[in-house]
């Protein structure tokens, strides 16, 4: 495969694509770095001036930053835990031979195809609305006071919505992994006298270690940047209770019109994402080694 000629050919054929991707990435990055060193307010055009690291100091010392960092981590962690803890039993159920299995699978996967904005609207107005929502109606059936989700437990509400969206993904990945589990291994465990629970703990769960890692890594990438669900439902509030890093950057740029500070925030977010990725790969990445 690796004669000098094929290597040269491979590289020269790859160059346009790699080059385009590189430009695609480097231009925004360079501009962001450039803007992050400027005093650049959209309310005061023409006043751009170099301020060094002042934007970073401003962003990092903003009390909203720590609050939103905490919200981000709580959101990511909760959704990861919920999707995996619920995804495993769901996948196990869907692996059973039942009538209409294909239809059930299609239905379970459906939330993944709904746009975040649409699902957030559905949850906000049809399900969690304190007056006209389904949950409010259900609680009032029992004579209880309906929960005002987005005021009383706003972060939990957002977590539930995002979990609902990502559960199909986790279930699907885990289901395909379950289907690749060697039937003879389960039979061997059965011959060895293992109960259903023991078989799950000693045979199935270790087999799922790798797909769980994949779910964690992929979901983390997307969950760090959750935005539409927050924008549509709570707008980051009440106060800062549902503001995550992505939403904070948005509010810097397009509510306070401070492009410089938003750019600094964007770079901080890049660093945070890399720190999270570093720890994740350290903790769960070894499952990926063959």
């Amino acid at each position: 495969m690796a004669t000098r000629q094929t290597q040269f050919l491979a590289r020269s054929l790859l160059t346009p694509a790699v080059g385009l991707l590189f430009i695609w990435m480097i231009v925004p990055l360079a501009l962001t770095i450039y803007f992050s060193t400027l005093h650049y307010s959209l309310l005061d055009p023409g006043s751009e001036s170099f301020v060094g690291l002042e934007n970073f100091r401003y962003f990092l010392t903003d009390p909203a930053f720590l609050a939103s960092l905490q919200n981000t981590l709580v959101l990511v962690g909760s959704v990861l835990a919920l999707t995996i803890l619920l995804g495993i039993p769901l996948a196990l159920l869907m692996d059973q031979p039942v009538i209409g299995r294909n239809f059930v699978r299609l239905m379970v996967i459906a939330p993944f195809f709904v746009m975040p904005t649409v699902s957030a609207l559905v949850w906000k107005n049809l399900l969690m609305h304190p007056v006209s929502g389904l949950f409010a109606w259900l609680t009032s059936l029992f004579g209880l006071t309906p929960i005002d989700w987005f005021n009383d437990v706003p972060l939990l509400a957002v977590i539930l919505i995002v979990t609902w969206q990502w559960l199909p993904f986790a279930t699907l990945i885990l289901l395909t992994a379950l289907q690749s589990l060697d039937e003879e291994q389960k039979e061997a465990a059965e011959m060895d006298g293992a109960s259903a629970v023991s078989t799950f703990i000693y045979v199935t769960l270790p087999h799922l270690a790798r797909p769980i890692t994949v779910v964690i890594l992929i979901e983390t990438i997307f969950l760090l940047t959750v935005f539409a669900e927050i924008f549509v439902t709570t707008g980051g509030g009440p106060g800062l209770q549902t503001t995550n890093i992505a939403f904070l950057i948005y509010s810097q740029a397009l509510i306070q019109f401070d492009v410089g500070s938003a750019s600094a925030g964007g770079l901080v977010a890049v660093v945070i994402a890399n720190v999270v990725a570093f720890f994740l790969v350290r903790i769960v990445g070894r499952n990926l080694e063959a």
């Binding site: 011959m191 060895d192 293992a194 270790p206 087999h207």
Partner: protein, 335 residues
């Protein structure tokens, strides 16, 4: 003790009858091989005995007790799977000891038994390796270790050697047979390879289309096949079957002669005349595939080297004492 009796065992998957009533008596300590072409139901029969499938009818008795409603683990059998089915994330020690751990044995007792089993199988240096770090033959031995450590009433082997290369297969064949004799535990072994069946078995069960065609010792099957199917299946190369006049002459619909019981004569006037189509010279044996006109293709075997080549005319003289006769239904005729 490991005496296994099947009484009218049936299995069907929906409208398809896989096992059409099997009766079998397996003596304690014997090595019984189920052999037959693919799809004959031999693996299904083994899985019925193991309890991995439920019977549709009939009884399975282990030491006189009907076990058809007993779960697999409680039947006191252990199984070696075709794919070995080792637990990939457990060490060799964990794999062999898993059944004991599930049975709730104390840790040091498990260790003692695992180490004893490993010593029997020459696996001691590999106890802390994972299955993926082992060769095919070693994995095979781990699978066998997992079976013997539980001291079962019987071993069930489901084509365990089919994933090994030819040389290793011969070696493992001997090891398995020797181990079984040493432990004196009943063994049921499924294979499609009649050489494995002939070399390993105390008794062979020949299965075809979900029915037991014949049950007997290897030489019994070789010398007195009950019907055309067994006659054609046991023995390599295959037995020659001749219909028509030479058969009628013997008062049978079909007669069969094994290739090794045909005497090869150059330019002979008697016997069956033909032209050699292909001659295979193996040194130890010579196989001749002879086009005998109306009689069809005949195979003849000569022990040693015979300098005959394609195109030569030969005549084949069957040993009259070694002619098998079959009636029009394919059943053997005894005189």
């Amino acid at each position: 003790m490991g005496q296994i009796t099947l009484q009218g065992v049936q299995k069907s998957f929906g409208p398809v009858h896989i096992i059409k009533g099997a009766d079998l008596d397996i003596a304690d300590g014997s090595f019984v091989v189920f052999v037959g072409p693919s799809g004959c139901g031999k693996t299904t029969l083994l899985r019925l005995i193991a309890g991995l499938e439920d019977v549709s009818g009939g009884k399975i008795l282990i030491d006189g007790k009907n076990v058809v409603d007993t779960p697999p683990a409680k039947r006191g059998l252990s199984m070696v799977f075709q794919s070995y089915a080792l637990y990939p994330h457990m060490s060799v020690r964990g794999n062999i000891g898993f059944g004991l751990k599930m049975a709730g044995l104390a840790k040091d007792e498990i260790n003692r038994k695992v180490e004893a089993a490993a010593a029997t199988l020459n696996l001691t240096p590999y106890l802390d390796r994972k299955p993926r770090e082992l060769s095919g033959g070693q994995r095979q031995r781990v699978a066998i270790g997992r079976a013997i450590v539980r001291e079962p009433k019987a071993f069930l082997f489901d084509e365990p050697l089919s994933n090994l290369d030819a040389a290793l297969r011969v070696q493992m064949r001997i090891e398995v047979t020797r181990l079984q004799k040493q432990l004196g535990t009943t063994a049921i072994y499924v294979t499609h390879d009649q050489v494995e069946a002939m070399t390993m078995a105390d008794k062979i069960v020949v299965l075809n289309g979900g029915k037991i065609e014949q049950y007997g010792s290897p030489l019994e099957l070789y010398e007195r096949p009950a019907n055309l199917f067994v006659a054609g299946f046991i023995g390599s190369p295959k037995m020659n079957f001749v219909t028509g006049e030479p058969a009628l002459h013997k008062g049978a619909a079909t007669i069969g002669v094994r290739p090794e019981h045909l005497k090869i004569e150059r330019d002979g006037a008697g016997g069956w005349q033909g032209t050699i189509a292909v001659a295979e010279h193996l040194g130890s044996d010579t196989f001749l595939y002879v086009d005998a006109g109306a009689l069809g293709m005949l195979t003849a075997r000569y022990i040693g080297e015979l300098s005959l080549h394609a195109g030569d005319r030969v005549s084949l003289v069957p040993d009259p004492a070694r002619i098998h006769r079959f009636d029009e239904n394919g059943n053997a005729l005894r005189s």
